[in-house]
């Protein structure tokens, strides 16, 4: 089992489906996976 940190351009609550998150989920079937979501600015959060 490997520890893998994924830093992604997409979010788990975004409007678009995400290949990055799908990949993280697949990796987490046999590894510890940490998925760092795309950083947001305050403007992103409000809009």
């Amino acid at each position: 089992m490997q520890d893998i940190v994924v830093f992604s351009h997409s979010r788990t609550d975004g409007a678009y489906s995400s290949t990055a998150f799908s990949l993280a989920k697949a990796l987490a079937n046999k590894n510890r996976a940490f998925y760092i979501e795309q950083p947001l600015t305050r403007k992103d959060v409000i809009s």
């Binding site: 520890d3 940190v5 830093f7 992604s8 609550d13 998925y35 760092i36 979501e37 950083p39 959060v45």
Partner: protein, 231 residues
């Protein structure tokens, strides 16, 4: 939305979910300072380093909280942050994954083109989703590999194997049907062209399946009012 609220607290958020694999933890960073409007400059790099500190802080917290010792870092298409890792944050391997042509959209191209090149140079290896992206990356990194997107074959082959019921919101089958599946937005679709096509080809039905994320633009060209366009 829960994750979005968490970023306002200024704290690093940790999330698990019953629908996700047990070994998966989602991490939400505090808000970054918006800097994409700035040109490439000392000021841009200075503020970007401040944003980068938030990533390093999150990584330190993950390493400490989950006792990570030997870990792999995979950056999926975020070539703006995460360049020079601090001494106490050294993964076994650093991988950059190029999933799209970053130069094709002005917003991402502005800092993404240079960031991607730099990342390919300093990371251990690069993955790409297409052969075109592979050709672009192999010119920068000798360790570039083509890793195409996967598909759930069992899910997608059902229509070929099973006789599935016709969805109730599909138009009648008396005309040929042109189907688009994907996000219905202006980044991927030319709505004016689509409206013109639907007007000229009234003998076919056009079915758009997906999330309508540009409803105002679609309405502006009258897509909703065309009798042979279905959402």
């Amino acid at each position: 939305m829960q994750n979005r609220r968490a970023v306002f607290t200024g704290k690093i958020g940790f999330h698990t979910h019953g629908k996700w694999p047990e070994l998966l933890t989602v991490i939400t960073l505090p808000t970054f300072l918006p800097i994409n409007f700035l040109p490439e400059s000392k000021l841009y790099r200075l503020i970007n380093r401040l944003n980068e500190q938030l990533l390093w802080k999150a990584l330190r917290t993950v390493l400490r909280r989950y006792r990570l010792q030997h870990w792999v870092f995979l950056n999926v298409y975020y070539p703006y942050t995460g360049f020079e890792f601090p001494e106490d944050l050294q993964p076994l391997l650093k991988c950059y994954y190029s999933v799209d042509d970053i130069s094709q959209e002005s917003y991402t191209a502005k800092h993404g083109v240079m960031g991607e090149k730099r990342m390919a140079e300093i990371y251990d290896f690069v993955l790409t989703t297409s052969k075109v992206l592979y050709q672009k990356m192999i010119a920068v990194s000798p360790h570039a590999y083509w890793l195409p997107n996967a598909a759930d074959v069992t899910l997608f082959s059902r229509a070929a194997v099973w006789k599935l019921p016709r969805p109730h919101d599909m138009p009648p089958s008396d005309k040929p049907c042109a189907v688009y599946i994907g996000n219905i937005d202006t980044a991927r679709n030319d709505f004016a062209l689509l409206a013109e096509l639907a007007s000229r080809c009234s003998d076919i039905n056009i079915v758009l399946i997906g999330l309508l994320t540009s409803p105002i633009e679609a309405d502006a060209v009258g897509l909703h009012r065309l009798p042979n366009v279905f959402f």
